[in-house]
Amino acid sequence: MDIRKITILGGYDKIGIKEPVEQIDIRPGEMFGVVGPTGSGKSSLISDIEQMAQGDTFSRRRILLDDAVPDYQTRTDPRKKMIAQISQNMSFLADMSVGEFLCLHAKCRGVRDSHVQEVLRLANTLTGEPIKKDYNLTILSGGQSRALMVADVAVISDSPIVLIDEVENAGIRKHEALKALIGNGKIVMVVTHDPVLALMTEKRIVMKNGGMRKIIDTTQDETELLEDLMNIDGLLLQLREKVRKGESFERCGQTQGALMQSLYTKYRSEESA
């Protein structure tokens, strides 16, 4: 089933005040960020959407698909599910092997077993620590678990709406992870503190006290900043790789030093202003 838009109708914040943002529409191909301090209600917003709340959660928000209340099947049956979610959980609790788990999940979602190999391949590109089919889920490290969750959602739970709750803290390659998750023409919401991820979105919803406070459109300036940030991020990745390989930084190149210097002078003034 194709959808043309998802609508979030605002409810109430933690102290019972009506959310200033009354309605948000998101269409295929759009990516929205969700930002705000810890405890501001980011994960609740994501889980309201995942459960397609109908005024029945604490926030009393309502979620519509193509202007209509989704039916029971769409809300619950994983085969019909419109939504794939990467939640904040950093580990698996199920006591079974990686292969067994992926086969079961493929069966739930009604996809072929051949997807299992693809999940493993993708997961192994997202983390440095190898993941094998016969490993038990519960022994996976945080990074391995997150990589497997991301790859599982990208390949097996291939849904038109993707909800991502903080991929950056997981110790995995976040850009690759995001790329695998967002695909083409999907509706994406990403909870993040990371400026690179936040500025990759078109708009970001600012959360406070459990409510959607306002929406910020990503500006032209911010898009330019994003390019610089990507450079810094790339540089950090290179440096991290050097550390990993056990190299030292004596010959840290001129260009890298110059890049840092120029960025520093460019943004320092804004910081202190």
Binding site: S44, S47, D48, E50, Q51, A53, G55, D56, T57, F58, T76, P78, A84, Q85, I86, S87, N89, F92, L93, A94, D95, M96, F101, L104, H105, K107, C108, R109, M149, D152, V153, I156, S157
Partner: protein, 233 residues
């Protein structure tokens, strides 16, 4: 009156979900009475009382709490009748995986803890397989994929049940639970029966034998290899 019987292993979130669902029923103007049956101790009554709802506690002591609940059901119903309640909600102790405390006419609700692992539904027995509704709790602790697998396993055991994912902490999904309760049918005044017969309990242990050796035991005995005999008159 409607009878709602809520079963599930200890700590699965029965009380947590019920507290939210009862609040919603109260807001809808419904009058509820709650009965809690446990073996030795419970403080669930304090949690329910906070809602200003009449609570009755039954402690089954050395008896199977499900058996105890079943043959005391009439007293509980009469008490709820005196309270002029629209609902009697019975929370069981949920220890026995062989009994199912549901009657034909009640709404049978099983609460299953999603963090207990994907094979748990296969172990829960008749209180899962004969339930009308299954409420899956603690989904907030696991990944979406694990939730989907858990759901699939429940449907393997009980293909006809309706599943509600609820969060006992935030109350998410609990409105759907109260809605299901409101849609439950009213008790007829006829004879109500159990859905699932109580388990085999006709050995000497049932009547107080404490010695362990096989020679002291009479009745229906099943060996560990599955071979079953009757010893006695």
């Amino acid at each position: 009156m409607k009878l709602i019987v809520v079963a599930g292993t200890p700590g699965s979130g029965k009380t947590a979900v019920l507290v939210h669902a009862l609040r919603i029923l109260g807001e809808a103007g419904k009058n509820c009475s709650v009965a809690k049956v446990d073996c030795l101790y419970t403080d669930d009554d304090k949690r329910f009382s906070k809602l200003g709802i009449p609570v009755m506690v039954g402690l089954s002591k050395d008896m199977c709490p499900d058996h105890f609940a079943i043959y005391n059901l009439n007293e509980m119903l009469e008490w709820a009748e005196e309270n002029q309640s629209d609902f009697l909600i019975l929370e069981t102790a949920g220890l026995c995986h062989r009994c199912a405390p549901y009657s034909q006419e009640c709404l049978g609700v099983c609460v299953a803890d999603a963090t207990a692992g994907p094979n748990t539904p296969l172990k829960l027995g008749p209180f899962l397989s004969t339930a009308d509704f299954v409420i899956v709790t603690k989904g907030d602790m696991i990944s979406q994929a694990e939730r989907e697998i858990f759901r699939e396993k429940i449907l393997e055991v009980n293909p006809k049940c309706a599943i509600i994912e609820a969060n006992g902490l935030s109350g998410q999904g609990c409105a759907a639970c109260s809605e299901a309760m409101m849609k439950a049918r009213d008790l007829s005044n006829g004879e109500d029966k159990l859905r699932h017969s109580a388990p085999l309990a006709i050995c000497t242990l049932c009547v107080g034998e404490t010695r362990i050796k096989k020679e002291f035991h009479r009745g229906v005995l099943r060996r560990i290899d599955g071979f079953q005999t009757y010893v006695g008159e």
